[in-house]
């Protein structure tokens, strides 16, 4: 007890104006009570995870940015050469896959936000009506979210197989001459994959909206019913506006999913002919034969910049709220 008091006074002496009465601020009081060993422990507790996270995530992200302005074959550091914007120029002007990939990422987002997201919301609203068997329905729609994207890719390949697949078998297109090649046809394959992606996304959105709907104050519904509003009016004017925080999360999650899309496409056709994505182009530079590190990094930087446009405003909004709380 006595040692702590002395520590407290010594620490307090380092805080310049004693009249500022820091004692009212509880958390700062904590700080003054800490022993040297506590400080060391805290430093380690926060430091080790931070070092790991920064080294593997942020240092590599920054390294991507730096490497994007160089050429490097990966053999020895002395082969790294500064080339300025050369990689980006090549990427924007000469790479036949780049603009289609950007376009496909955009299409991916638009499809996810226009089809499975409202569908998930619709299902959530229906299931929120304290309906019988709600759990059973929920599980059916949610099941795909539990599966790995790779497994989803395999399952849908079975559905789309031209010869043996469910769709062609049902519509009689599984005979020579009538084949519809869902996976191989560059005009079809992106849409075929997006059906599989939407299959998963709907369940994910449904759960997020169900959680959001649980937070809606029941008295709002009652008031609206008493005012004689019908179901649609209640939803549009009362329920939906209160789902604003959920909508923000849904928007961010959907954009990020569209930028991260990879596994499904890779399993389907490795992103060839019609299904190029930015993530696929980056990965091809690593696992393909050609290892053009600078060039691959330039694509990664494009992906990073698009991501930051979403991540930064979202974090600012989230953390501003947090600081107020």
């Amino acid at each position: 007890m006595t040692t702590q008091t002395t520590k407290e006074t010594r620490e307090a002496a380092t805080v310049p104006p004693p009249g500022a009465a820091p004692a009212n601020k509880v958390p700062q009081g904590h700080r003054r009570l800490l022993t040297r060993r506590d400080r060391l422990a805290l430093g380690l507790m926060a430091g080790l995870p931070t070092i790991l996270h920064i080294a593997l995530v942020w240092v590599t992200a920054l390294a991507s940015v730096a490497l994007a302005f160089t050429t490097w074959d990966g053999i020895g550091f002395d082969s790294i050469k500064w080339v300025g914007l050369e990689n980006f120029k090549q990427l924007f002007n000469d790479n036949p896959q780049f603009w289609p990939a950007v376009q496909h990422n955009v299409v991916w987002f638009v499809v996810l936000i226009v089809i499975p997201t409202p569908l998930g919301l619709f299902l959530a609203v229906q299931l929120d009506k304290r309906i019988r068997f709600s759990r059973v329905y929920q599980t059916a729609f949610f099941l795909p979210v539990v599966l790995s994207m790779a497994v989803i890719g395999f399952v849908w390949q079975l559905v789309y197989n031209p010869d043996t697949g469910l769709i062609n078998s049902l519509i009689g297109a599984n005979e020579p001459g009538k084949y519809i090649d869902w996976i191989g046809d560059p005009d079809l394959n992106l849409w075929a994959i997006l059906v599989a992606a939407s299959w998963r996304h709907t369940g994910y959105m449904m759960i997020l909206y169900l959680a959001g709907l649980k937070g809606v104050d029941p008295s709002l519904r009652e008031a609206s019913a008493l005012d004689g509003a019908n179901e649609w009016q209640t939803f549009k004017n009362v329920i939906f506006p209160t789902l604003r925080p959920t909508n923000t999360v849904v928007l961010v999650v959907t954009i990020i999913e569209a930028l991260r899309a990879f596994d499904l496409v890779f399993v389907f056709n490795k992103g060839a002919q019609g299904t190029e994505l930015l993530s696929i182009l980056v990965t091809n530079n690593i696992i393909g034969e050609s290892s053009r590190i600078g060039y691959g990094s330039a694509i990664a930087v494009v992906l990073l910049l698009i991501s930051l446009v979403v991540i930064i405003p979202y974090l600012i909004a989230t953390f501003r709220k947090e600081r107020r709380a």
Partner: protein
């Protein structure tokens, strides 16, 4: 007024609209399960039969032969073990490390802790491909003799564990710090006055109170890490060392002429996640919404 309230509280009577809704939901749910049902049906039938009669046909015989063949021929038990070697330490380490960061950020008011949390959260939102090229090079450069066959971080379980921990701790730190912030400050203050060290406050007071959030995150993390395809695809080169999801990719390449066998393999891969989900459904869903409704 009071009758209106009462009517809302009772379960709605059976109305035509309700029946219609049930019909719609049941139909939609069945349609939703159709791709999985199709895979199951294919996996239960021998390839010889389906290639002769077509896939949309009445099955003569159903058996688990494809499942047993997929399991034995492709050495799946070996890949399941590989996944466990990666997933178990990764989940435990992620929870341990991120809970310490969360404790630091939420219980002590240091100047930088908001920035710290921001760094963690933002890191988790980046697409993996943004960091993969330098990471891959880094893993090739780092020697860890004796622990792995390659002698490098590349192509090792340790390498995968590290990147999973680094990447996922962003999400967990955020969720746990929010959770810890709701715990009353008096708890640790009392302990502090009694002379409990910071470590004891964390380990004996705060951490046990976080059990519900930890359970939810553990469920979520095990499914995510088990399902990982990308990190293993790029950072593991030897077939021997692959976890189950990327091994499945090889299996489908080798047996693409027998879709029934591939279907069985894919379904076998999904079984552990389905079990985790059905047993720990509540934790899984609450974990997902705990983090996602952070806005």
């Amino acid at each position: 007024m009071s009758t209106g309230t009462l009517a809302l509280k009772k379960r709605a009577p059976v109305r035509p609209a309700r029946i219609l809704l049930h019909l719609f939901l049941a139909g939609a749910a069945l349609a939703w399960l159709a791709p999985l049902a199709w895979a199951i049906l294919a996996a239960l039938r021998p390839y010889a039969e389906t290639s002769e009669k077509g896939y949309v046909s009445w099955p003569d015989s159903l058996s688990f032969d494809n499942f047993t063949n997929a399991f034995t021929q492709s050495d799946m038990s070996h890949y399941f073990v590989n996944t466990m070697i990666i997933a178990v330490p990764a989940v435990l380490l992620t929870l341990f490390l991120s809970s310490m960061v969360a404790f630091y950020v939420s219980r002590f008011d240091f100047r930088l802790n908001l920035a710290l949390l921001l760094v963690f959260t933002a890191g988790n939102l980046l697409p993996q491909q943004v960091i993969i090229t330098p990471l891959y090079r880094m893993y090739l450069l780092i020697d860890i003799p004796g622990i792995t066959m390659s002698g490098k971080l590349y192509d090792s379980a340790l390498g995968l564990v590290l990147i999973h921990v680094a990447f996922q701790s962003g999400f967990c730190a955020f969720v746990l710090s929010n959770y810890m912030r709701t715990l009353p400050h008096e708890l640790t203050e009392a302990a502090l006055v009694d002379g409990a060290s910071v470590w004891r406050q964390y380990w004996q007071i705060v951490l046990p109170l976080c059990r519900p959030a930890m359970a939810a995150l553990a469920t979520l993390l095990s499914i995510w890490i088990y399902n990982d395809f990308f990190w293993a695809l790029v950072l593991i080169s030897t077939g021997e060392n692959m976890p189950i999801t990327s091994a499945l990719n090889n299996l489908s390449g080798a047996y693409f002429t027998d879709p029934n066998l591939v279907a069985a393999g894919a379904l076998l891969t999904a079984i552990p996640t389905l079990i985790v989900y059905f047993v720990l459904q509540r934790q899984f869903v609450s974990g997902l919404t705990l983090g996602a409704n952070k806005g």
